[in-house]
């Protein structure tokens, strides 16, 4: 049992779909929070199998997409310094900053390296005591424990040449912000399964109550997604607004206590600007005072950052579920994964990239209706 094939069984998928079709009586708009879920939905064509009444709005859960331009520009400036080995997850390299990206910095001689695990960056620092190794610590609660462990490990090894450029984001405050926005159409959330693997489900009952919105913790395989959607619609149809866990094999209610303890030690909650969305109170993590000496932002003075977004990019509306990616005038023409205007077209979790990959059919950029 590998827990992947079983959760893609077409016969069971038909059963869930049949039940969903039998349940739904009127239009509902659900938001899948995580970009990984958006990609799975489009890859498996799940959106096209749903009853016409059920609409999926794509959420902001793409870490690369919401990392603020100012943080990327800061990364570019630090990465260009001769003493620095700049380490990042691969997704980040092609994300456009103001006028350039990390690939460009590398082409111009910057030592920019892709790491698979944050611990690889710590190992690089141990192996190159004469260089400054900086790790670009971005991501949601799923990724934060790994990045926190890098800080912890650097501290244990006594490394003085390791630092982190931190731009972490937290899901629950972002959901609050989405619900509070005028004209919000979201009626239920499919919560990001792997965020909850770490954090558990305890943050959601107050949100479900306050906003009267069902929250269903949902996984990433076809059956997981269909079941998450089915349960959310069931709640909506029966007027309930509860937190349900449709991904119990990877989400215990308490999450991962060991990871949460390290998060609480290494990070502290802070306000954070989300690219395209704006500042959301308490929606980020920064290094706690105990680890502030590992903060690349204070270690490297890069002067004033003047970030300028390309005016043509409407990623902010896409990230808030207000614009379908293929409704953007630049989509598939001026903006493609090879020449992205914004991060949503770059990332393997970005909604624009998902539409480009799964909803365009030929080289001219023509697309399905």
């Amino acid at each position: 049992m590998r827990f992947v094939e079983e959760f893609g069984d077409p016969a069971l998928a038909r059963r869930i779909l049949a039940d969903l079709h039998a349940t739904v009586t009127r239009p509902w708009a659900l938001m899948e929070v995580c970009g990984g879920q958006t990609h799975a939905v489009l890859r498996h064509g799940i959106d096209q199998l749903l009853p016409p009444e059920v609409e999926l709005i794509h959420g902001p859960g793409c870490p690369v997409c919401v990392t603020p331009l100012e943080a990327i520009d800061r990364a570019l400036a630090i990465a260009a310094r001769p003493e620095v080995i700049f380490c990042s997850f691969g997704d980040m390299l092609r994300v456009p900053g103001t006028g350039r990206d990390l690939f460009r910095v590398r082409a111009l001689g910057g030592d920019v390296r892709i790491v698979y695990s944050p611990l690889d960056a710590v190992a690089l620092a141990a192996a190159h005591p004469d260089r400054q190794v900086v790790f670009f610590a971005i991501g949601f609660e799923t990724t934060a424990p790994a990045n926190a462990m890098a800080a912890l490990q650097a501290r244990r090894l006594g490394l003085r040449n390791f630092s982190l450029l931190v731009s972490h984001v937290r899901v629950p405050p972002a959901l609050e912000a989405i619900l509070a926005a005028p004209g919000c159409r979201v009626q239920a959330f499919l919560a990001a399964g792997h965020v909850c693997s770490v954090m558990g489900t305890g943050e959601y009952p107050p949100l479900a109550r306050r906003w009267n919105v069902p929250v269903v913790v949902t996984g990433f395989e076809p059956l997981d997604l269909l079941e998450g959607i089915r349960r959310a619609v069931q709640q909506l149809e029966s007027g309930r607004a509860e937190v349900e866990n449709a991904y119990p094999r990877a989400v215990p209610a308490e999450g991962n206590p060991a990871a949460r303890a390290v998060l609480a030690d290494v990070f502290e909650v802070t306000d954070r600007a989300w690219r395209g969305i704006g500042t959301i109170p308490r929606s980020g993590w920064r290094l706690s005072e105990r680890y502030r000496d590992l903060d690349a932002e204070t270690r490297f003075d890069v002067g004033r950052i003047r970030a300028v977004e390309p005016p043509e990019c409407r990623a902010g509306e896409v990230l808030q579920g207000r614009l379908a990616p293929d409704r953007c005038p630049a989509f598939g023409g001026r903006c493609t994964p090879r020449t992205p205007l914004g991060a949503t077209m770059v990332s393997s979790e970005g909604a624009c990239a998902a539409y480009y990959r799964y909803r365009t059919t030929d080289l001219t950029g023509a697309r399905h209706a």
Binding site: G36, M149, Q153, H194, V198, F220, P248, A250, S347
Partner: protein
């Protein structure tokens, strides 16, 4: 490389480094070195969910089986009812039954 995606794999070896618990995890034939620091009790043979080189959670086999069993039961009651006059509405359901999902 996808950042939010976490993949299930099976622990094949554990090395209890004094500083950090590491192990090899088998992802359907591809074995990778993974940090097990956040699962201090995980044992060889157990399935874990791995994200950017870290096991973030155990994969609960019993919970997985229960979920599949629950899913298997969805619609069964409905199918039985469908034979009776008070059964659920047919409509779009039957029209879409032929479509695959995966």
């Amino acid at each position: 490389m996808t950042m939010c995606l976490a993949v299930p794999g099976k622990i094949v070896t554990i090395t209890d480094d004094p500083l950090l618990r590491m192990g090899d995890v088998d992802f359907g034939g591809v074995v990778k070195r993974v940090c097990l620091g956040y699962l201090p009790d995980a044992q060889v043979g157990e399935y874990v969910v791995v994200h950017v080189g870290f096991a973030i959670q155990r994969l609960d086999e019993d919970a997985a089986r229960q979920s599949l069993e629950l899913l298997t039961r969805i619609g069964l009651l409905e199918e039985e009812l469908a034979g009776t006059p008070s059964g659920p509405r047919p409509g779009p359901r039957s029209a879409r039954d032929g479509e695959g999902a995966a």
